[in-house]
């Protein structure tokens, strides 16, 4: 049903995870951590928030995996994360694990954040521009285009993640692309060849 080579692997791992096999679930984490994190990152923008959402999505998936029946693990996992992104927008909520009390009482201010100037400098202007255009989309369009163009999901899979009809997926992706394109075209250097290519 879904064009995923890893579906059979998933099924085996999911079966084991449902029986409480942490090792199997850890393999599922390894398999999906990068796409899931990047989905959240393109949705919420901040790496720390995205990591919190991914962590929380894995925790919830682990807790509820026994309730997973027919749906493919991947769309179910992304559905959990998508809901957490919407929660994040609604309430500005962060997800995280609070360590045990007796341990936290010993914790003193450790690790003070500083920006990473090198990374900032290297952040390619083009990347930043595209990222900002995606951030400017409304949430429904944003998640559709992220699942399509960041995660490479098929429309049917996106419909399953978002629990909306295929036609809605199609229209959100199209409108999102049109809007991003319009924003990008305001920067004359962004599509340098476009005009030349169609001059004749």
């Amino acid at each position: 049903m879904f064009p995923s080579n890893s579906l059979n692997d998933d099924r085996d791992l999911v079966g084991r995870a449902r029986r409480g096999d942490r090792e199997a679930f850890t393999q599922l984490i390894v398999q999906y951590q990068v796409p899931l994190y990047n989905m959240a990152l393109r949705m919420v923008g901040k790496p720390d928030d995205a990591a919190d959402i991914a962590q929380e999505a894995f925790l919830r998936a682990w807790e509820k995996i026994r309730t997973l029946r027919e749906a493919p693990f991947k769309s179910w996992l992304f559905q959990i994360a998508a809901n957490l992104c919407y929660d994040h927008f609604r309430r500005g909520r962060r997800y995280g694990v609070m360590p045990d009390e007796e341990i936290t009482s010993n914790v003193v201010g450790l690790g003070i954040a500083t920006p990473d100037p090198q990374e900032r400098a290297e952040a390619n202007e083009r990347t930043r521009l595209v990222r900002d255009c995606i951030q400017a989309l409304d949430h429904d369009m944003r998640i559709a285009i992220v699942l399509r163009d960041v995660n490479g999901m098929a429309y049917e899979e996106i419909a399953a993640v978002l629990r909306v009809p295929l036609g809605t997926v199609k229209s959100r992706i199209a409108r999102a692309r049109a809007q991003v394109q319009e924003q990008l075209q305001r920067h004359p250097d962004f599509f340098p060849t476009t005009e030349d290519a169609h001059a004749e």
């Binding site: 984490i29 010993n106 914790v107 083009r126 049109a178 476009t194």
Partner: protein
């Protein structure tokens, strides 16, 4: 006349976009292809959408700043953590669990190893790495010529320590700095070798490596940059500008530089090693 319809229907935005994704049924796909072939305007619209989609697909896939974990047992009562808290708490947990008393000793290099997977429940429940985004980045990566340094040639470095995994003698964590004492505005060169790592990744988050400069239980997370995987040994570190460290005053004093390696094989085993570092007044 461009306005004269060459095909029955001008494709909609949605059709053009879905056409790019090969998400139209074959009849609609053929119709759009046919139309676009004869209509400059729609071809330009299609090209614009295609370039936009490519621009989005060209966004880099970024590495998560920390490792994602699940608790040993199904969780009891998790609470929301305040913003900015999670990563540093996780590092602190590691430091405390592995024996923070070591950190107060101004003596020579120390090393510990242990498994957190069975009997320290609180720790196993916590994500075992922290956000690298909050850490101090190096000014530059360590020079590759340090790559062949290992425990046997420890004399070559002024300040080095090694710990051997008690369950796998081929696995060692080696930490060294170029000096033991630095002026407050000095630069410290740090090199960490993960000998016998099950992973060749040069992403410190993938390797489960954290570096911390600690004094009296307070410290600064250093962001280790991977430079080399020589004979399968990932090497991390960099040059760090001490003046840029957000250390609490007085800056001068005796610190320990500590490397913590949560071995990335799912075993929960941790190797930890530290060397003394003095910042002169």
């Amino acid at each position: 006349m461009p306005s004269e319809p060459r095909t029955p229907a001008e494709p909609t935005l949605e059709e053009l976009s879905a056409y790019l994704d090969h998400e139209l049924d074959s009849a609609a796909e053929a119709r759009v292809a046919d139309h676009v072939a004869g209509c400059d305007e729609c071809r330009a619209r299609l090209d614009g959408l295609r370039e936009t989609a490519h621009a989005i697909r060209a966004l880099p896939m970024e590495t998560p700043p920390r490792r994602f974990t699940i608790p040993e047992q199904r969780r009891r009562g998790w609470r929301w953590a305040p913003a900015g808290w999670i990563g540093s708490a996780a590092v602190a947990l590691l430091l405390i669990a592995v024996g923070i008393q070591n950190l107060h000793l101004p003596a020579g290099p120390t090393a510990t190893s242990g498994s957190f997977s069975t009997n320290s429940g609180g720790l196993a429940n916590a994500p075992a790495t922290r956000s690298e985004k909050g850490a101090v980045p190096p000014l530059s990566a360590p020079s590759p010529f340090t790559q062949q340094f290992d425990a046997q040639s420890a004399g070559a470095a002024t300040n080095a320590a090694t710990v051997v995994d008690s369950s796998n003698s081929a696995r060692r964590l080696v930490l060294d700095t170029d000096k033991t004492s630095y002026p407050a505005n000095g630069r410290m060169r740090v090199t960490v070798q993960l000998i016998g790592s099950p992973s060749t990744s040069l992403q410190s988050a993938d390797q489960g490596l954290t570096l911390t400069l600690v004094r009296n239980g307070q410290g600064v997370a250093l962001r280790p940059v991977g430079v080399e995987s020589f004979n399968g040994t990932p090497i991390f570190g960099g040059w760090y500008d001490l003046a840029s460290f957000p250390l609490s005053p007085p800056l001068a004093g005796d610190y320990r530089l500590q490397a913590t390696w949560l071995i990335p094989d799912g075993s929960g085993r941790v190797l930890q090693v530290s060397v003394p570092v003095r910042i002169a007044g």
